[in-house]
Amino acid sequence: MIGRHKHCIALAEFSREEILEVIDLAVSMKEVLHRPLKKVPSLRGKSIVNLFFEASTRTRSSFEIAAKILSADALNWTSASSSVTKGETLVDTAKNLEAMRPDVLVIRHSAGGAPRLVAERVGCSVVSAGDGAHEHPSQGLLDCFTLREKLGTLEGKTVAIVGDISHSRVARSDLHALPKLGAKVRLCGPPTMMPAGIERLGATVHHDLREAVDGADAVIMLRIQHERIGDPLIPNTREYSKYWGLNAKKAEEWLKPSCVILHPGPINRGVELSPEVADGPRSVILDQVQNGVAVRMAILYLLAGGSTAEGAEGKA
């Protein structure tokens, strides 16, 4: 359990305390990652099924390695196409996998709400690894963890999220979590990439990048998906990059010296981030990847294993 929750589906439903429970535990999980023997027996005998209906490298590997470090057995079930085109419904697929008695089902799906539908039908815990444009809770939690690690605290900090907000589940999870830890969120992108009524979720909306990043403590750059160009949301990546991309010059002139840059990956180098910025001193992108493993260890541990943080050290 994470606080009151048997599942980890939406940070909209998580309280400040529940978010802190995960990221506090992730601190000790990260320590495990740096041991010479990266293995604790906490989830020995537990099984985790990764059910991925959408392509993913980072998130799936991250959940898999998190499970393995905790000694759980991890099964990866990947479908190139959606359940509907395969002929088996999502509910049937989930029930079949549940019959194999996993302790946690990690699901990624292109349809918003799919993890919730599965959670309603199965007995085990369900973790969303991203559903449509709804939420990507483990990404939101690892962003919180990384920002707290780099900034010391989120209290009173300003975080700008830049890119295609309307299609971004990462932006939504960040937007639900960051203010609960005391941060202010600014959203920035072309008006065609701003979803209706997003400001009601508690952010300010900007279309001018310079204004959005001015004085910010952190900037989260989102990936621009090439299929959005034909939608048509933007004329081309060249113009997008000119107005909403970050290069070394803009970073130097517009960002305050301590400002860090995050990106959920995969990066379109030269579109939203120039290579110098992606690999530069402000970039904490690879820290995010490592913290992602720690956060997912914490999520799996809390849902499949013990109820107290001390168990992370193993109760073999």
């Binding site: 509910v91 349809a111 709400g113 919730r116 209706a196 979720l201």
Partner: protein, 431 residues
């Protein structure tokens, strides 16, 4: 006198003849013989005690999907007609998007034959606007009318081509058929699955902006002005559409409009509150509270003529899915009166206007000889208990499908007796 029925003691509400008060309704030979305050009861007449009840013309629904031919696992003409009379509806207009679609006399005749076999509600088929609902060529309106169609519609599919819409309005004039349209710009709607607004943003579901409906309503009102003819706007759901229709009516255009109980009662926020329940997925989608308010006002002031259910049965095969993948539509025949009576209780609708929008309003819109208790009219009657309360259990409804957003909800008011042509087709006294 054995075929004489006296319905006594009830409050007769018949907006078509301006009656609202305690009256006795006398039925003889399948027709209304008399509606009076003091009527002598002849020996041998059958008596229906209706004290405390409402006695109204049988309801007229301009918009139902009966799924036969082709998708009988969802509904048949018979099960749909059974659901209709259970909900007080005695006349229902069957949309043509069956498999095959109703663009020919043979499908029209099949629907009519099945309805006659069922012997429940009167089923009036609606033919296609375009052949095969393909949106390109006109269907044969003359043949459809002659076979028994009362209107044409490509419902479920908007008429994307302005050129086809123009010709449909013009050509239908030759046969006096209303052209009933599902107003939605397909490009603006895109792959949207719910109303575009803060809720779709929060849920991460693709939105359909209200403007997708507005632009088509405005287009078709302009085409109506060009062509003459009769335009009927189906399931109006937006503030902009209501405003445009109100303005068009002021200018004297021959436009009529319907609204569904769900667009009057529910908002897009209910999609979120339901936890992505696909019983809240329909097209047009549930709109914002502001739109709902405008639709209610439009119904109250007569901008919207009729309440129509858009009864759209689907099985679990189409509904027990991700929200994105589920088909649009909900059943509505058996909950319409109760849902709307709840609006009356909330002060959003007057009792008499409610009855009018279920009877005389729709009958006028399609020019049907229905929706009245005038002397000589067919004895299609609903007896309703406004004091009843019930809990919606989809398994106990008469429809073959169970896709209702009111599952488990407690609702006021229920139809206790339904007569079609003087025959009791629903209710305890059925014998």
């Amino acid at each position: 006198m054995s075929d004489v029925i006296f319905i006594e003691g009830g409050r007769v509400i018949d907006p078509a003849s301006g009656v609202d008060g305690v009256r006795t309704v006398v039925v003889q030979g399948g027709r209304i013989a008399e509606v009076g305050e003091r009527v002598e009861r002849p020996h041998g007449a059958r008596v229906v005690e209706a004290r405390g009840k409402w006695v109204t013309p049988g309801f007229v629904d301009l918009h139902v999907h009966l799924r036969e031919p082709g998708q009988e696992y969802k509904e048949t003409v018979a099960t749909g007609a059974r659901a209709a009379v259970a909900g007080g509806f005695t006349t229902i207009c069957a949309m043509p998007n069956t498999k095959p679609v109703n663009d020919s006399a043979s499908v029209t005749e099949l629907v009519l034959a099945r309805a006659a076999q069922a012997g429940l509600a009167r089923v009036l088929p609606v033919g296609c606007i375009s052949r095969a609902q393909g949106g390109e060529d006109l269907a044969e309106y003359g043949e459809l009318k002659a076979a028994g169609c009362v209107a044409v519609s490509d419902d479920g599919r908007p008429v994307a081509s302005s050129g086809l819409m123009r010709r449909a309005l013009e050509y239908a004039r030759a046969f006096g058929l209303p052209v009933a349209v599902h107003e939605e710009d397909p490009v603006l709607a895109g792959k949207g699955v719910m109303h575009e607004g803060p809720t779709s943003t929060r849920l991460g579901l693709k939105g359909i902006p209200a403007a997708a409906e507005d632009v088509m309503v405005v287009r078709d009102l302009a085409l109506l002005e060009l062509t003459g003819g009769r335009l009927h706007l189906q399931h109006v759901s937006t503030k902009g559409a209501v405003r445009a229709i109100r303005d068009a009516k002021k200018r004297g255009l021959a436009v009529t409009a319907e609204a569904t109980p769900h667009h009057l009662a529910l908002t897009d926020e209910d999609v979120g509150a339901s936890g992505y329940s696909t019983d809240f997925k329909m097209n047009p989608p549930l709109r914002s509270a502001e739109d709902v308010k405008a639709v209610r006002e439009g119904l109250a002031d007569g901008t919207i003529d009729a309440i129509a259910t858009d009864h759209a049965p689907h099985s679990a095969v189409e509904k027990d899915l991700e929200f994105d993948a589920a088909l649009n539509g909900i059943i509505g025949l058996e909950t319409a009166f109760s849902v709307c009576l709840e609006l009356v209780r909330k002060g959003a609708l007057a009792e008499r206007r409610l009855v009018e929008a279920l009877t005389a309003g729709p009958a006028r819109a399609f020019g049907l000889a229905a929706g009245t208790l005038a002397k000589g009219a067919a004895a299609d009657i609903a007896v309703l208990d406004p004091a009843a309360e019930w809990t919606v259990d989809p398994a106990r409804l008469h429809s073959r499908s169970r896709n209702t957003p009111w599952k488990g909800k407690r609702l006021p008011g229920r139809c206790v007796l339904t007569l079609v042509g003087g025959r009791i087709v629903h209710g305890e006294s059925r014998s």
